[in-house]
Structure formats: C-alpha cells, structure tokens
Symmetry: C2
Subunit: 321 residues, 2 copies
C-alpha cells in the first residue's frame, strides 16, 4: 500500500532548491526502496556540476567547526552549498549515534544550504554505497559545492574522502604528530592540509612536521605534481578559512587545467558502480548476513570441517554465479 512517489516532480522541486524535496530524495536513496532506480535515473542528467570537497581527520580536530566555517565562506560568495556528514554508526544497533550537528545551527535556516547526516548503518560498503548517491542528489539540486565530512579516520572513511575532487585533511596541534598523521593513512590522499586550532601551542611545529613529511612522501597520485599546501586556521573564529577556500580553489583549477578532474570523476563513478554491483550480488547470499545457507556454512567453518574458501565456493555456487 505504499504511496506512489512522484519522482520527476520531486527532482524538479529539488532543482528549484526546495529543501524538503532534497531531503525526501536523500531519504529515498538511503532507504533503498522501490523508487531508488527511478530516482537514480531522474538525477543522472543533472549531475556533474558540483565541486566535491572531502574533509577528514582524527576525532577532535574540529571537522564540524571547519565545515561550518567553509559553508559560511561559500555562502558569502553566493554559492549553493551541500553538506554530507557521515556518522559511523554501531554495527549492532544500526542507528546513528550522537552527532554535533548543533554547530551547524547557524546554517539550518539558510535556503542556500543543504545539510544531511548520513548513518553508515554499519554494514560493509555502507559508505561506498549510500554516500555517493546522496551526493548525486545534492549535485542535481544545484549545489555549487558539496562538502563531504567523514567523522573518524578509517579505511572506508579515507576512501570516501579520497574520491572527492579535493581531499582536505585536518590536523590539530597536540592531537598527533607526523607519525599519527601517517598512521591515519591520510598523508597521501590529502590535496590540502589544514592545521586547525592554530592558536594552540605547537601549531607551527605541526605545520613544519607536516611539510617535512610531505617533502619526504612520494606523490604518486595522478598528475604527480600537486604539492598539498599546509594552511593554518582557527575555524571556530573563522581565521584562515578563506585561505582554505583559496587552497581548495587552486587545487580545483589545477585539476581542470590538467584534465584530471574528469579522470578523478570516472574513478569515483567506477567505485560507485562497483559498490552497487557488489551489494546486488551480496543480497543473493540469502538475506545478507541472516541467510540460513551462510549460517550453516559458517557453522561448518567454526567446527573446522570446512575452510572459509571452500565455504565461499559453495556460497557463490548457491547464487548461480
């Protein structure tokens, strides 16, 4: 008895900038309901205009504050801004935990800003699957720039940010030295470094360490010649935020000039398509993790009767692939 959703009408209203239409489309995407395919098809012709800026860094470096300050800066230029804040959620409850979207408060009534927290639902590939679809909604809705903020530093989170047009990595003095940054696996994906909370002791040292690490690190990323700038900021007071915007702009111009923007977007689309295809295949394993076949096979593995590869063979055979 589901209501029929007027997808074309929703997309039209989203493109006019109606926040409720944008929110509804993202919900349809997140819920992966029957309208998902229609939504995706309706969005496709309208995508590709937004500049996608990823922000990441360890907990406590001030990502949300920095995101909020960037929103303000882009709004001052009259641009329409989207924010996707990815909250890791428990693999067990499936729900998003506390957030601090309150810091975004000043933008919630601005019709030129769309803010959305994404729960990752704790399932494998959740980030790679749902986040790009929500991004496409914001893109189609006419956002000039979409900020993708990932909370936490992990394999999936780093990957999401690395697939942005420009990846911004935040650090803070005392939060971690060069080795900590390297541990986070973010040195090589950063296009722009921000040393936030730069009014704290050790900010200059953190910036120096970072520059040193950059000079040592081989830049094997595409193009190979972009040297990520290190920008100091105090996002909570708005200091240095325009320098961050300038650095992001400079990187974007560099991407366009080199023809790298198109290449990077093909990589992003390929990962997106792949993630959807994997989810589709996985769903055939029998109700995701709950399938009786998978459970029976897992029990045999625990009993030492079957190794995991032999069990996977049977699972793949079982889906007729």
């Amino acid at each position: 008895m589901a209501r029929t959703v007027d997808v074309a009408g929703l997309v039209d209203r989203a493109r006019e900038g109606q926040p409720r239409a944008v929110a509804r489309l993202i919900s349809l995407v997140e819920d992966a309901g029957p309208e998902l395919r229609d939504v995706a098809a309706a969005l496709a012709p309208h995508c590709g205009n937004a500049r996608v800026v990823g922000l990441t860094g360890a907990p406590g470096v001030g990502k949300s504050t920095c995101t909020s300050a960037l929103v303000k800066a882009y709004r001052e230029r009259g641009e329409r801004v989207g924010v996707l804040a990815v909250d890791p959620s428990s693999p067990f409850s499936g729900g998003a935990l506390l957030g601090d979207r309150v810091r975004m408060g000043e933008h919630t009534t601005d019709p030129g800003v769309f803010i959305r927290s994404m729960a990752t639902r704790g399932h494998l590939g959740g980030l790679s699957w749902a986040t790009p679809q929500a991004l496409r909604v914001l893109d189609a809705a006419g956002c000039d720039v979409v900020l993708v903020e990932t909370v936490g530093v992990g394999q999936s989170e780093v990957e999401v940010v690395s697939l942005a047009d420009t990846a911004v990595v935040l650090l803070a003095p005392g939060m971690g030295d060069g080795i900590q940054a390297a541990k986070a696996g973010v040195l090589e994906i950063a296009d722009v470094f921000v040393v936030n909370k730069a009014d704290r002791d050790g900010a200059d040292q953190t910036a120096r360490d970072l520059k040193h690490a950059i000079s040592l690190g081989r830049r094997e990323r595409e193009g190979g010649l972009w040297r990520p700038p290190v920008v100091k900021a105090v996002a909570s007071r708005g200091e240095g935020v325009h320098d961050v915007v300038d650095a992001v702009d400079a990187h974007h111009a560099w991407l366009v000039e080199r023809g790298e923007l198109a290449r990077r977007r093909v990589v992003r689309a390929a990962r997106e398509v792949e993630a959807i295809a994997v989810e589709r295949l996985r769903s055939r394993f029998g109700g995701l993790r709950g399938g009786a076949d998978l459970e029976t096979l897992a029990e045999s593995v625990v009993a030492g009767e079957l190794d995991p590869y032999a069990a996977a063979d049977r699972l793949v055979e079982g889906v007729g692939a």
Copy 2:
C-alpha cells in the same frame, strides 16, 4: 616457474611455533597466491582455540603501547601470543605507511610472540578479507590469545574489532569526551573500556563520562546483560594492565558461560565467508577497478548518459550472475 610450496610442512612447522613458518603462511595468505586454498584447507582443522581480543581507539590514545603491555602480561602467564596490527594504507600507493612497531621491540625476540603488521591495501573489504585469514594462521600456530589492533577509528576498523571475542576500546583524557567516543561509533561495540594515560588531567572525568554514557546506552548486543567495565591504565608504565587482562578474562568467561562465544564465532565466520565470496564475484568485474567494461560504464555515468544502478545492472549481467 613458481616454487612449489610445501604447505603441509609449513603448517606443521608453524604449529611447532617456528616464527618463520608462521610469517610465511601469513604472507601466502596476504598475497592471495595459488597456495592460498591449500593453506586455508590445511589450517581449518587447527583453528578455534585462540581467544581473539580486538583493540581500537582514536589515533594517539596509546593502542600500540597498550598492546605491547598486554603481550607482556599474557607472556607472564606463559601463554603464546599473536598480534595483528592493522595499518590503514593509502588507497593510492597500496603500501603501509609509517608504523610504530618499534614500541613492540621488546617482544620481537621472544619465541612465544608473533607480531604482524597488516597493510589493508586500500581496497574495499581489505580488512574483512585478509585480517581473518591471518588470524587463522596465528590461531592454528597455537596462540592462546591473538590481539588484533586496528589503528584509526572507522567503519571497517570498528567492524574488525567488533568481530573479536572481546572488543577493547581505548580512550585517553583530553582526546575526546563522551560525544567524541560516540562519534567514533565504538560505544556499542565495546566489551571493555580502557581509559589509558590515566595519569593525565581529566582521567576521572573521562571515566565518569564514559560510565554515564554506558548507563544511557541501550545494550542491544547479544546476551544484553554484559555491562562493559571501565578500566584506568597507564600502559606506558604497565599500570592497570593486569586489570585490563582481568576484565578481558571476565568477559571471556561470561561469553563461555552464556554460550555466546560459539555464537559470536559463527557470526565472525559468516562475515569472513561472505567477504571472500564478495571478493570472488568482484574479481569477475574485470580486473577489479581496472576493467575496461567498468571504466566504460563509469564514463557513461560521468557523462550523465547512464545512472549508477543501470550501470551496475550491466556489470552484473557481464559476469553472468
């Protein structure tokens, strides 16, 4: 012209505790070469004895130091200990970055300790796929306990730890308050909390905040009645480490008593089998990310001619699934 590997002989030597045999088996697993299937089959009957303890927390909380201190404590009990340290690596270089395995220095010459850093290779599912296989090697090699340390806090990293028998989550004063812990998505997966660096200002406050958060959080995890203890430690001086060991032991006893240990291991095996099956299917997309078909489809997506779901349909059709 690859040399034939005597897998059965390697497994025998690993079970005798020969470090080189253990290291070689993990390499065979990581490289996913032709011997992988034989290795998996040879290990299967010998797995299931090790207690698996996962450790995670934000960068800088002292995970490696705590892991090292735990190794020492377990060694004092005469147990054979394995350590899997998962280093997020760049999605672009594919290589592990800097580590701080140096802190493990004191254990590197101990024949009762096997330490291995795992690169995650930056590919989707890297953690879920390779880490459990390496764990099986250490398990079959007779480790009484295997510590799985994930550096960073992210969706995949949290998942790996959540699949351990006992998940230990580390925090440190000043590194993050209750909200930061919640952001990291770790509150609900923790079986034991450690407030490390407890000699620092704010340790009591952090412990109190945590206990408060625990009392608020619904424990919907299996069993439902385990209330994660909060242990204070200064791992660098060995203080409180035996309390951590006691808490881990208590949780393990609780799991056994409730019959939850077997259930948790079936869940872990199911995820493991599923991850292998997904990798197998993905490999049919045409050389992972590099396949011509995937790239052509991705170009159509970027051009707005195809939506990602339609592209995924064609990809799945292409593998005959």
